[in-house]
Symmetry: C2
Subunit: 286 residues, 2 copies
């Protein structure tokens, strides 16, 4: 199933995407919908009944960030084995992790507005959304706790990211990590068998990786994270980006005002975000 958070008729709805449009689910968004422990059977029932008279008005429907209210957004750094090996590095023993906030997320079609950096870079990623509360989970339990998959771009302010050893401040600008356009449940997709993760700038491909080359599988990542913190329905885990980021180019390339960023995972969909540079604050000094 493809689940979404949709704005239509001035309201937001959790919804099920079908060929004819969107069938509403009983919640305002997927963050809320996933709190119901019966979310999967509720969605399955709505799909089976498929009451076309209940379809949301498609013409005016706009896809939003499917999960607007995660308590935790946890991201993995280096995770594509082919890219790490081609850079001459050793495969890591442990996942490199950092955090974002719900405020960091953005809608699949929204503008990415940079107010304090001209070093805006792309990082196409597969995002995992949690569907069941887990603590100290085995990989098998972690797999069962995944609600589904969506697309993310961990847009990064490289100057801020490199100001100190901790990447967080370059990765946590409000409204800079688009997520969506839909959440695809685990029966339809398996990252282990290989999903293409693609990034394009103004239509030109800059990144293409395959999730079958993950150092840490989605299940391994979630199991590992759950050793130190509880994950709950609606929480989001970003799985790392393949090679081809702007910072790695010679010379480094960053996004320009007006650039269109496309982030695609076939089988899920494409994020289309226009970049706006609105840097109006001087670089802070002492």
């Amino acid at each position: 199933m493809k689940l979404a958070t949709v704005e239509a008729g001035g309201q937001t709805h959790a919804a099920l995407q079908v060929a004819q449009g969107y069938l509403p689910l009983p919640a305002r968004n997927l963050s809320e919908f996933l709190q119901d422990t019966d979310w999967l059977s509720i969605a399955s029932t709505v799909l089976a009944e498929h009451r076309s008279d209940s379809l949301l008005p498609t013409a005016e429907a706009r896809l939003l960030n499917p999960v607007p209210a995660p308590a935790k957004v946890i991201c993995c750094g280096l995770n594509y084995a082919d890219h790490i090996l081609e850079m001459g590095r050793e495969l890591p023993l442990y996942p490199t992790l950092f955090a974002k906030f719900a405020d960091t997320l953005a809608d699949p079609g929204s503008e990415i507005i940079s107010t304090a950096s001209n070093n805006v870079d792309w990082e196409a990623e597969l995002a995992v959304v949690i569907g069941t509360k887990i603590t100290n989970a085995t990989e098998e339990e972690a797999t069962a706790a995944i609600a589904g998959y969506t697309v993310a771009n961990d847009v990064s302010m490289r100057d801020w990211q490199r100001r100190t050893l901790q990447w967080f401040q370059g990765k946590a600008f409000d409204g800079t990590t688009p997520l969506g356009p839909v959440l695809v449940t685990t029966d339809e997709l398996d990252p282990e068998s290989g999903l293409e993760v693609i990034c394009r700038v103004n239509g030109i491909e800059v990144q293409r990786g395959n999730t079958s080359t993950f150092v840490f599988s989605a299940a391994r990542l979630i199991s590992y994270i759950s050793e130190f913190t509880t994950l709950r329905p609606g929480d989001v885990v970003l799985t790392g980006t393949p090679g081809g980021v702007g910072m790695g180019m010679e010379p480094a390339r960053f996004l320009a005002d007006g650039d269109e960023l496309q982030t695609e995972i076939p089988g899920i969909g494409t994020l289309k975000n226009r970049v706006r540079l609105r840097v109006n604050t001087p670089i802070p000094s002492h």
Copy 2:
């Protein structure tokens, strides 16, 4: 004023600490109370009326983490100038920042249970609690947005912290950062004029720093953070720890099962947390 979140009679209350005990405030905890834009005048009125017949039963009152539901907990690394200089390092141009979650926080008297690390270390810190929503704030605006100050211990799992370049995973274990015992409003305390930050293990002092030696003042930190993300009432900013952590000792010293960790800032209060090592999972491997 000294504000608190108190458990009494099987319920939790936001409360005002007075000599005779606790006067209830109209919310279940301070995270909720601070959402009311009139929180300061409401608390002032309760204090002025000082109805002793409304006092919570003190005998059974237990102080909890004052702000249990922050959407953001943001921490600063190296921030005590004297300690940085004595280590022969240069003062940083930018604050080193990383994140925790609400789940990371713990009550002022709770046990700190380590389930996956035997390298448990202390970091006594002043914590700042936000009282007004701010974005892109000047230092003056940041100062005005502070609700008050409390005590924290950024208890860190050094082995996990050092597994990768990003500290996050060693700093985000559930229930390992005690906060409290009360929130002291800004009219009573000024970190710029100097607060002592003290840590003791089994009664022996291991850390003592003074907030007058901050590289980045509380206002500067909050102004800086607000350049990239909105801060809201109840959000928490940890301001860094002075010298004297266990990792810096020769040989390194970590907390043992049963150790009592005391974290004190005179004028605010003391956290007393017993450490429990319950490491029952093998170190993960591939």
